[in-house]
Structures are given as structure tokens and as C-alpha cells.
């Protein structure tokens, strides 16, 4: 898809060259810099000195439980609410005093927010009409965008005549029809069923490659965040607690909160007894010894270790770094087996192992020997 950037057309300054005749190129998204932003609702602090640097063209996800401040941050960016203190810069310029309608963003809402009195084509053409783009050009852009979202057959329908998935595609089309440098997405997929969600996730990802906008995506669904994002900013209680690539967030979370919010996790409290470079040797309260990696090897006397369920291995016999465990429950989920075990000090651990032909489902009460390698455990700081 080769469509020139259109955002510039809204400019009223003569020195900005219209780019409609420029060679086909990708629009490049804006950089966004959020600095020490504070927003309160009465006594409730929704955003507590949030800072975040977003690269041009990045797909960044704000991930967090409800009430963590992610939608507030998005609303502040869109200009629906005013910042109490702090500042937001887009391409190095403060947007503090720019009203919403002149920020030139695209936005997709959870409730779609399609105008019920307009057809699909009119909905998608709305931003073009607001920018006073001439009818013929606007019609072309609308047709192109509808084509891109595979909605061409529905152009004359009203939103109420369409399914949820289709409505959401219309909302996305409206958000990108101007090829905005920034697209904000507020939990756009949460109202859709799982299968539809997954297919639109892939579409959105491809769309991002095509239009090159900076996309700010808000979700509380961790698997959605892991699938789609260039980077994830995990939020909790008005703070950003970690910003990193999905693989980093999943494998090397900084805190207990991130570890337990993203993916399934086993958290083991243990005493540190030895250190080799960044690898620590630890001992559980009941005396079993295991190894785990840490960021820099610095450690207190006690540490919490994250072991993802799929990293735990089941041994045929006891080894020096294995520990005995009793099966509490065992479920066959298709591609994986989900086994819950209890250690002799009472802690329960979750194990996921992929289904293989020689694997048999363990019985409840059966004794297993479990363990993991030094790179499978991660010491939380």
C-alpha cells in the first residue's frame, strides 16, 4: 500500500509543501515525549508524574489493570482532559495549548463511537471533510481506505447494520484515513470475540507496517500486548512500572507486579547462598537448592525468583538441582498439559509442558521430580 502522507494538507501555512505529488512513500509517525505528567480526580491520582519517550513510528502498548491510569494517559494525549502539571511534546513541540481538533491524531474507541446517522463512507470521510479536503480527493481516499480494510462492499451501510468486527474496522478506517502521524487506540478489540480479536490483531500489525504512524495502544489484555507491540509500558496505580520490548517484559520483568500481571508465573521466595557472575544459587525454606539468573548479580540476603510454568521440567529421577513435588491437579489442554504441584514446604507451582506422544498425564497425588536450569529462573529486583 503506497499512499502519501495527508496530514500536511490540514496545514494552512504556504511553506509546507503539499505532498500529493511526491513519490510514494511511507508516512513517518511523530515522536512523543511525555514528561512528569500528573492528573488527579479529586483525591485520586490517576497519573502520577508519568514520563515516557516514544519513538517515531513505534507501536507502543500501555498495559495495566483497570484504574491503572492508561486510559487517562490516552485522554490527556487526545486533549479530552487537561494536564495538571507536566508536559507532552509531539515532534518536540508542546501540545499543551493545542485543542483536540487541531492535534491531528486518529483515534479508535472501545465503543467504536461511529456516528449513527452517517453511512460507513461518511464516517470514514469525516476527518477529510473536517480538513476541507476537496470532494474528489476525499472520495478517493475513502475508497482506498475502505479497500484496505476490506470494507468496500459496505460503504453505503449504516453502522447499526454491521457486526461488531465490521464496525471496529470502520472505526479503524476513520482513524487512519488521514494517515495521521499518531493513532490512539483505546482498548479497541476488547468488545470482540477471541477469534475475531486475533485476526484483527494481525491486521492492525500489518496496517502499522503500511502506514508507519506512531500507534499508542491501550489494553488490559497481556497476550494482546505481547503479540502486537514494539514496546510495552506496564502501568500500575498511576505509574509506569516498566517499559521494554515484549520479550524483555515477559522474560525479565522488573517487579513482582509485572511478573504476575504479564503471563502466568511462579514466584519463589528463597535465600541467596552463592553467586557466580550474574547467576545466583538460592535455597528454598525447606532446603532445596536451585539456580537463577539476575540482571547484574547484586542481591540482598533474600530474593524472589520468577520461574515461568513452561520452563519447569519434569525429571524421571532425582538430580542435585531437582526437588520432589506432589501433583495436585493435571489438565490436558490440547497443545499443552497444565500440571499443578505442591512442594514439601507447601508452595504450589504451575507447570506447562507441551504435549508429546510419550507423555502421560500424571495422577493426582503422584510424586514428581521437578527442576529448572540457571537461565530459566529470573531474580526480581
Amino acid at each position: 500500500m503506497q499512499i502519501p502522507a495527508r496530514r500536511e494538507m490540514r496545514s494552512e501555512l504556504p511553506d509546507v509543501q503539499p505532498v500529493s505529488t511526491a513519490p510514494a512513500q511511507q508516512a513517518i509517525g511523530s515522536s512523543i515525549s511525555i514528561r512528569n505528567v500528573v492528573k488527579k480526580y479529586g483525591a485520586f491520582v490517576a497519573a502520577d508524574r508519568i514520563s515516557l519517550e516514544i519513538e517515531p513510528g513505534e507501536f507502543i502498548t500501555l498495559l495495566g489493570p483497570s484504574g491503572s491510569g492508561k486510559t487517562t494517559l490516552l485522554n490527556l494525549l487526545a486533549g479530552f482532559q487537561n494536564i495538571e502539571s507536566g508536559e507532552i511534546f509531539v515532534d518536540g513541540k508542546s501540545i499543551q495549548h493545542v485543542p483536540t481538533h487541531r492535534r491531528g491524531f486518529g483515534m479508535v474507541f472501545q465503543s467504536y463511537a461511529l456516528f449513527p446517522n452517517m453511512t460507513v463512507a461518511q464516517n470514514v470521510g469525516f476527518p477529510l471533510r473536517m480538513a476541507r479536503i476537496d470532494r474528489i480527493t476525499a472520495d478517493r481516499y475513502v475508497a482506498e481506505t475502505l479497500e484496505m480494510m476490506r470494507l468496500s462492499d459496505h460503504a453505503q451501510k449504516l453502522p447499526s447494520q454491521m457486526s461488531g468486527g465490521q464496525q471496529q474496522r470502520v472505526a479503524i478506517a476513520r482513524a487512519i484515513v488521514m494517515r495521521p502521524k499518531v493513532v490512539l487506540m483505546d482498548e479497541p478489540l476488547s468488545a470482540l470475540d477471541r477469534r475475531l480479536r486475533e485476526s484483527i490483531q494481525i491486521e492492525l500489525r500489518e496496517l502499522h507496517q503500511t502506514i508507519g504512524s506512531t500507534i499508542l495502544f491501550v489494553t488490559h489484555d497481556q497476550s494482546e500486548a505481547l503479540t502486537m507491540s514494539d514496546r510495552i509500558a506496564v502501568m500500575d496505580a498511576g505509574h509506569i512500572v516498566q517499559v521494554a520490548r515484549p520479550i524483555e517484559i515477559y522474560r525479565r520483568p522488573q517487579s513482582r507486579f509485572v511478573a504476575s500481571f504479564v503471563g502466568e508465573s511462579n514466584l519463589i521466595d528463597a535465600e541467596v547462598i552463592d553467586r557466580k557472575g550474574t547467576v545466583l544459587t538460592l535455597r528454598t525454606p525447606s532446603g532445596h537448592v536451585f539456580e537463577a539468573a539476575s540482571r547484574d548479580g547484586d542481591h540482598d540476603k533474600r530474593a524472589t525468583v520468577l520461574v515461568r510454568p513452561e520452563r519447569i521440567r519434569i525429571h524421571d529421577a532425582a538430580t542435585p538441582l531437582s526437588m520432589p513435588a506432589t501433583v495436585i491437579s493435571a489438565l490436558f489442554l490440547g497443545e499443552v498439559l497444565r500440571i499443578e504441584v505442591r512442594l514439601d514446604d507447601g508452595q504450589t507451582l504451575l507447570i506447562r509442558c507441551s504435549d508429546t506422544s510419550e507423555m502421560t498425564l500424571p495422577q493426582v497425588g503422584q510424586q514428581l521430580h521437578i527442576g529448572w536450569g540457571a537461565t530459566d529462573g529470573w531474580v526480581l529486583s
Binding site: I95, V98, H101, R103, F105, A131
Partner: protein
């Protein structure tokens, strides 16, 4: 983001001024100024005059020492209380009936309740006079059946007052209860039945407790309206049924009572305010306009002390329900299963018939050939329509009313709609207090309002002018407009507006393309009801018009008091047609309100 939008940013000082001017709270200013000048100040002046005697309390002492007045006060409270009770008992089954029927039946029943609600009280009272008159259909029917020999006097006694007032105020009660019944989650009833509750248990344990606030609101609205009533009791009551408000109008005719007259009005006003105040403390002042809270989401999150006390009260209610109601219901539960359903149908059906039949009888009589009121008419003719349209007095009154109502609707809608915008869209403090000010004219007895405006209008020469009457009627029109427009504004999806703004629509464009189309039906309804309010207004006009300028209700009032002739039926029929036309126009809004 383009360079253009960033470079022409206004300087900080200009921004602050511009932003201050953009504050939606400013939209409240015109309506508040208008109400303070023409509504709050006159009421304050009323208090001042009432205390202007040798000592401040001398007039009040007279009110409470002359048996004529305080007995009438007691009687007024008693009548209002009885009427409110009757309205609850009769209104609840009717509200349930509307809720339980479907399709065409529901539309018909709802129309039968809503239609009388919008027809002038004077006309509905007149209909009852026709119905209960010596030559009225009821006397005729009883005679035909041979139950009585000659016509009996059904009018001018306590019974006819109670009947008339209940019939006039019932729609208010039904609509208030229906609002709370229809808000109930249908799933709750099903859940109760699935847990083994029979129809009676569902009613007692689920339906009644959850709709109790609606019942309370309806009861209070009817009670407060009843206290200040005087049209219906004047026309239907005998000498023993003098209501308090009637003394004020009678004293007003003789100017001697300056000071004492105001004291009577102040007593009536204070009692009303106390009742409303106590009710507002218990269940929130929202009951006046039957709406949700106007506070912002932040306030809703925190549990207020009010909800805590409400929890305790419910505990007491539960105990009462367990000890008294439940055993009774157990006994009633032995009755056949369909009994409850039929109670609702029969009672609701009777109420609907009572509301509709008088109006139909009046419409039929308007085509009568006889020169006196008799039913069924001996012969048919259009002579009374001809008389109405050829009589210059009636026609000039009609044009006066039309002009005043149009002017009043313009005032009420322009002030009320902007105020509603301000209420819904601003974040100012004391929002609830302002809303209360805007809707409070609804609960002030019209007699008190009329008296308070009387001297003001005399002083500034507004008496008997179009503008004066239109402005006075707009005091009552503004609450109607504010409530309707605020409700439709609250129903507008903020996300739609944000969606338009983020994709480049300026605030004005957002309003034009998203907000205005969404509230247009509500705005249309508001215009119609503000018009109708002024068109039907009698009490304020009694105080504020001059002999040279009569409105249609004033002409009706004079004629009802002196000669009951079928011209009145003609006017009534025309009014019914006007209201029916208006309701058909307003149906989209009403239908939406029902589904919401």
C-alpha cells in the same frame, strides 16, 4: 501535528481569557440572572412584606389564631395527604400495567395516561363537572338503571374534590412510578422466580423495595402539588372544602389584606419547602425532576453518608416487611395464581378508563345541539364551534394566548437549553444547588408565585402585557426545558463527540454534527411543552393580566364559574387535539425515554 497549528498558538494571557470565556458554566448565567430577578427577588420581597406589620409576627399570629385559616390549613394537608395516598394505591397497578403490556396495548395505555398529563387542569376539572353534573352521564345512567328517581348532587362535596384531584394528579404519579419500574433489571424478577419466589413474593421482596424510591417521589410530588392546589377544589368543592390556596386568591381580590395576604402565602410556601426539604434530605433532591445525579463520576465513586443511612433504613423496612407484610401475603398467596395479575389488570384498567372517559365525554358534548350541558346530547350540531370561531372575545383571547405562549416558549427554551448545557457540561461546584434553583419553580405553589409577582409587575408596568405574562410563564417553563434538555444531553455519547473532535472537528462543528442531531428530539419536545405550559397557565395569569387582556384559560375560568355551556367543551376539544398533535410530534422522544 502541523507547524501551522503550533505556531499560531495564542499567548498565555489570551489563552486564559479565551479559556475562561469557553467555560460552559457561563451558559448558566442568563437563566440564573433571569430567575433571580423575576423569581427569587419577588419571593424574598413576599417575606419582607409579610413581616412588615407592627411586629414581624403579627400577621402570622392572625393566620394561626383565626380558626377559618388554620382549620383550612389542616384541611388542605389532610386532603393533599389523602389524594397522595389514593394516587399511590391507584397509580402503582397502572404503572405495572404499562410495564407488563407490550406492543399496541402498551402504546394505548401509555397514551391514555400521558395525554391527560398534558391537558390543562382547568379543562380536566371541567370534564369532571360535566360528568358528575345533574344532567351528566352518571346521573343519566343511574336513572336509566332505575337506581335513583331524580338526579342527585354528585358535585360540590368532599368526595368530588378527592375524586377530581386524584384524577388530575394521577398521571404524575403513574409516570413517576413507571420511571422507576422500567429502570428495574428484568433479570432480577427472573432470578427471584428461579430462586423459588412466587409472583407475590417477587412483588414484595424485589419489586416493591426497589421501586420504593419512585413511590416516595411520586407521593411527595402529588402531596406538594395538592397543598398548593386551588383550581380543582374551587370548581368541584362545596363551602366545607375551602383549601388554603383559595383564601389567598379570595383575599387578593380585596386589597385590604396587604401584609396578611403575604403571610398566608409565606405559610403555604414554607410548608411546601419544609416537605420538599425533608424529602430531599432523605432521598436526594433529584426526585423533583426524576432524573439521575448531576454530579460527576468522581463523586459517585465515594460512598456518601446518605447511602449509609439509607442502608440502615432499609434494615428497618426489612423487619417491618418480615413481621407484618409477609404473613399477610402468605395468606393472600392461597388465592388462585392469576389473581395478582388480574388485580393489576382490573385496577389499571379502571384507572385508565377514569382518566380517558371524561375527556371523551367532553369531546362528544362539544358537538351537542342543546344550549345546556346534557349527556348524551339530544341532537348533533356544529353551532358551538361556529360560536367559538365567530365570537370576537374568544378569538382575541385565543390569539393572546397563542402570542404569549410563543413568546414564553422562546424565552424558556433559549434560557433553559443553554442552562442545561451549562449544568451537564461544566465542572463547577454547587452544581446541584444550581440545578435545584433551576427546577425549584416546579414545586413553588403557583398561587404564591402569582402573588409575589403581582406587586413587582404593578411597579414596573408589566401587568397585562404580552412580555410580562410570557416572562412569568417562562419561570415555570424553564424547569421543564432544563429537565428535558439535560436528560437528552446526558444521553449523548461523549465518545462520539470525542471521536469527532479528535478527527478534526472544532467545538462548534462537534456541536452541529454530533450533539445537536442527538438532542434535536429532546429540544423539540422542550419547545412544545414550554409552549403548552404557557398556553394552559391560569393561576399566574389570574394575578398578572389586566381586564383588557384575557387569555384563553382566563376566559374558560370566567365561564366555568358563571355559565357552564358547550363552548367550553369546544375549547377543550381543540386543546385535546393540540396536545395529541404535540404528542405525535414528540413521540420519538417519549419512545426513547421508555426504552432507556
Amino acid at each position: 501535528m502541523t507547524d501551522a497549528t503550533l505556531n499560531d498558538l495564542p499567548s498565555p494571557t489570551r489563552t486564559s481569557l479565551a479559556q475562561r470565556l469557553k467555560n460552559p458554566a457561563l451558559l448558566l448565567v442568563p437563566a440564573v440572572v433571569f430567575l433571580v430577578l423575576i423569581y427569587v427577588f419577588p419571593l424574598i420581597d413576599l417575606f419582607r412584606v409579610s413581616m412588615s406589620g407592627p411586629t414581624w409576627s403579627v400577621y402570622f399570629e392572625r393566620v394561626f389564631s383565626v380558626p377559618l385559616y388554620w382549620e383550612s390549613l389542616l384541611r388542605t394537608m389532610q386532603i393533599a395527604f389523602t389524594v397522595a395516598c389514593l394516587c399511590v394505591v391507584l397509580g402503582y397497578p397502572t404503572a405495572l400495567l404499562i410495564h407488563r403490556t407490550r406492543g399496541l396495548t402498551q402504546i394505548l395505555i401509555a397514551t391514555a395516561v400521558i395525554l391527560p398529563y398534558f391537558i390543562a387542569i382547568l379543562i380536566r376539572t371541567y370534564a369532571w363537572m360535566v360528568l358528575l353534573g345533574r344532567n351528566g352521564p352518571i346521573n343519566k345512567l343511574l336513572q336509566t338503571l332505575g337506581l335513583i328517581d331524580g338526579p342527585i348532587g354528585l358535585l360540590f362535596n368532599r368526595g368530588s374534590v378527592l375524586l377530581g384531584m386524584t384524577a388530575v394528579l394521577l398521571p404524575l404519579m403513574v409516570l413517576t412510578i413507571y420511571a422507576s419500574v422500567s429502570r428495574l433489571d428484568q433479570g432480577l424478577t427472573r432470578a427471584a422466580m428461579a430462586s423459588g419466589a412466587g409472583p407475590l413474593a417477587v412483588f414484595w421482596r424485589v419489586l416493591l423495595p426497589l421501586t420504593l424510591p419512585g413511590i416516595g417521589a411520586g407521593f411527595l410530588l402529588v402531596f406538594v402539588a395538592g397543598i398548593g392546589y386551588f383550581i380543582t377544589p374551587t370548581l368541584l368543592g362545596g363551602p366545607g372544602d375551602q383549601m388554603f390556596a383559595m383564601h389567598i386568591t379570595q383575599q387578593a381580590d380585596s386589597i385590604t389584606g396587604e401584609g396578611f395576604l403575604q403571610a398566608l402565602a409565606v405559610v403555604l410556601l414554607v410548608i411546601t419547602l419544609i416537605v420538599v426539604g425533608v424529602a430531599g434530605r432523605i432521598m436526594g433532591f433529584e426526585f423533583i425532576w426524576g432524573g439521575g445525579k448531576t454530579d460527576t463520576a468522581a463523586a459517585r465513586r465515594m460512598p456518601t453518608p446518605k447511602t449509609v443511612t439509607r442502608g440502615r433504613r432499609r434494615g428497618v423496612g426489612m423487619v417491618v416487611a418480615d413481621l407484618l407484610g409477609w404473613p399477610i401475603l402468605r395468606i393472600m398467596g392461597r388465592l388462585p395464581a392469576g389473581w395478582g395479575r388480574w388485580t393489576v389488570r382490573v385496577m389499571g384498567g379502571c384507572v385508565v378508563a377514569t382518566l380517558v372517559i371524561p375527556i371523551i365525554v367532553v369531546m362528544i358534548i362539544s358537538f351537542s345541539k342543546a344550549s345546556y350541558l346534557t349527556f348524551p346530547p339530544p341532537d348533533w350540531s356544529m353551532r358551538w364551534y361556529e360560536k367559538f370561531f365567530s365570537d370576537s372575545n374568544w378569538m382575541s383571547a385565543f390569539w393572546n394566548s397563542l402570542a404569549i405562549a410563543c413568546l414564553s416558549a422562546v424565552i424558556a427554551v433559549s434560557l433553559g437549553a443553554t442552562a442545561a448545557m451549562g449544568i451537564v457540561r461544566s465542572d463547577i461546584r454547587y452544581k446541584s444547588a444550581l440545578m435545584l434553583l433551576l427546577v425549584s419553580p416546579m414545586i413553588v405553589p403557583p398561587v404564591v408565585l402569582g402573588l409575589s409577582l403581582y406587586s413587582l409587575f404593578l411597579n414596573v408596568g408589566l401587568t397585562g402585557t404580552y412580555l410580562g405574562l410570557a416572562a412569568a410563564h417562562a419561570i415555570g417553563g424553564i424547569p421543564i426545558v432544563v429537565v428535558i434538555v439535560a436528560a437528552s444531553l446526558q444521553a449523548v455519547d461523549r465518545r462520539l463527540e470525542q471521536g469527532a473532535a479528535v478527527h478534526g472537528a472544532s467545538p462548534l462543528t462537534v456541536f452541529r454534527t454530533v450533539t445537536l442531531p442527538a438532542i434535536a428530539p429532546g429540544l423539540g419536545a422542550a419547545i412544545f411543552f414550554a409552549f403548552l405550559h404557557s398556553f394552559d397557565e391560569l393561576v399566574l395569569s389570574l394575578f398578572l393580566s389586566s381586564p383588557r387582556m384575557k387569555t384563553l384559560p382566563l376566559m374558560l375560568w370566567a365561564d366555568v364559574n358563571y355559565q357552564l355551556n358547550p363552548v367550553l367543551a369546544v375549547v377543550s376539544t381543540l386543546e385535546v387535539l393540540l396536545v395529541v398533535g404535540g404528542i405525535i410530534l414528540a413521540r420519538p422522544v417519549l419512545a426513547r425515554g421508555r426504552s432507556a
